[in-house]
Symmetry: C3
Subunit: 109 residues, 3 copies
């Protein structure tokens, strides 16, 4: 069994959740925040049998879009208000960032 932890962009969330349900994947959603852009995103916890890992990764790949976003990086908390003049920078915001962890034991009570 594997536990897949996938951080997805909120614009892809509706499409990803529907695709997971259609393919009968079981999962849990956790609201999260991006470290750099400090925007809300979604962290999915998806426990799958080893044989379902490839189909799951294909599903995430086809339902998440990489897009370019112009952003003003947040001033570090330490900077006094008004002194930080951000230059907008283009970042490529990935569709999904995916960690696959090995599950030693799975129980359902």
């Amino acid at each position: 069994m594997k536990l897949v932890i996938a951080v997805i962009h909120n614009r892809d969330k509706g499409r990803v959740v529907d695709a997971l349900l259609e393919s009968q994947f079981k999962f849990t959603q956790v609201a999260s925040t991006g470290g750099f852009l400090r925007e809300g995103n979604t962290t999915l916890l998806i426990g799958v049998e080893d044989s379902e890992l490839e189909p799951l990764l294909r599903l995430l790949e086809s339902n998440c879009r990489t897009r370019e976003q112009y952003v003003n990086p947040m001033p570090p908390d330490a900077a006094p208000i008004g002194t930080f003049l951000p230059t907008p920078i283009a970042v490529e915001v990935g569709g999904a960032v995916v960690f696959v962890l090995n599950v030693e034991r799975f129980e359902r009570f």
Copy 2:
């Protein structure tokens, strides 16, 4: 050391948290949402010494109840409003879904 990630039903949460505290388990609570029913539930992160894993699993087993729930599955985001006539289906909502992960290293600063 193991990290136990347990998704529990919110009706069991009060009882589970009390039992964990009484048994001196240390843990962190994260608010989460079920993928299928889209109802709020709770994801617990519980780091335990290997020797405490069995007692923890027994605690989760005895404090989480499986119950049957009639639900109207949510229409997929894609369906036009009003066209999806759900037939209530009975699902067995587990008390706890538990993933046991191996911790390579634990630090407390």
Copy 3:
């Protein structure tokens, strides 16, 4: 690749997030709640190459402070209101509690 799951105190959060950004670590923030004190804290998910694990742990160690806090433990949910007379106890609230997990596979779509 390792996935570091770090539970940090909210008073350290601003300093830790700034330090992570300055050192170009990528991470995700999840709002969480302490099991014992039931206070809001923050769980960070930080995926790093193996070679960056030590610098990351040094960063967490130097940006999180252990402090002593006097607390009234919450009455167990089961106790009737007003019967539980807590004696304030001093607890040492750690700066960071850190779990290092092995990542079998990492993908970015």
